[in-house]
Assembly symmetry: C2
Amino acid sequence: MTINLIGTGNVAWHLANQLAKIPECTLQQIAGRSLKKGEEFSHLAEEVTTITSLKPATITIIAVSDTSIENVASLLPYQDTLVVHTSGSIPLETIPQDRKGVFYPLQSFSKKDTIDFTNIPICIEATTQEDLETLQKLALFLSSKVYHINSQQRKQAHLAAVFVNNFANHCYTIAQELCDTHQLPFELLHALLEKTAQKAIDHSPSDVQTGPAKRNDTNVIAAHVDMLQEDDHKSIYQTLTASIIAHYGKEL
Amino acid sequence: MTINLIGTGNVAWHLANQLAKIPECTLQQIAGRSLKKGEEFSHLAEEVTTITSLKPATITIIAVSDTSIENVASLLPYQDTLVVHTSGSIPLETIPQDRKGVFYPLQSFSKKDTIDFTNIPICIEATTQEDLETLQKLALFLSSKVYHINSQQRKQAHLAAVFVNNFANHCYTIAQELCDTHQLPFELLHALLEKTAQKAIDHSPSDVQTGPAKRNDTNVIAAHVDMLQEDDHKSIYQTLTASIIAHYGKEL
């Protein structure tokens, strides 16, 4: 199985490093406009700076920004091979080639982090059973968690990921701001933050919800809103609290 | 050092189990109206069902609901000993005794979880240096993380904890609902959820924020709001997104 990889961002970097380790795969070429010789990728595969310099491979993985996928795919100088993208929110059909697929690792990547790929869910999609099986084979070389989901489901998973990642992290950011304002170290909240995540994984998050909103404790809620100095912190507190009250009120 | 513990809830249960293990402490009595002989606490200390049956101890720890603390303290049948509560949001002054304090372990406790107390931050407060030192000694028997903070700071830490715990968990709950609605297993998001928490601990959460709101990607934001079916999910999405845009917009 030969692989071409297009892209030089976080996802491409982590994928390249993992793919280069798989004995059954040959990472043939890596394409990126911004590639500089001798940096980051040069030890992993042949580097090229134009898409048209790529030679045919079993799978071509396009790991570029959502808005560039279609254009990049249309520049590929070969046909009748499998072309996949790695995006959570872009439909399969965006790829113009007949043999198209999706290879979406559902994780937040940054180059500075080491990542244990074996636990990262990889969501795959293709138009034929044969291509799906090829993607599944590749995915299983990397991870034990492979999911065959369609483009609609993938979009929903990506939206759910915004809540789990972007929105949870913004709640952490506000907590850190509150700590900073009142001369408290944010590490005071580290154990709680970690435990909250672990409980949501070990149990169902709705089963472990606690706090003034869950109890509909209007005195504490009013005191908290009063304590918050920033308008957007107040809005977030009130909006999330109203949703929690509505959610658990239904259960009574 | 002898200790009396009042309460039979999650905090009391975990504290009793930890305190009973400390060689330098004697867990003398545990008081709770709902105590049933031979259950949960009977192997740890003498059980009593009325506050007035308690005998003097070096420290009396009141681990009951916020609204009951003052009343419980006022029933204590002895004087001139240190009386503390374990609440994040109740002021020190709520305890009527002269020798008063706070012993607040900042963690989310449930009886079914095992807890590694050594990493739990314990926030302490007292009116005299001597009592503060006694509390510090006790706290250090349990944990390596002891913070001396005042009642105002403790209230703020408790408010920040609502964001880190209650609100992050509600974001997880919404993500799980989105998964359920679209026949996706929530475990698809476990790796991301865990990584998000770990990154916020290893780095500063505001340094690792990503996503459409951070990028002010109005197309993806509009598509996401459109995909959400519940009004309160839309409100949460919009409120958090507006706050993220405002937060990172400031930095430009």
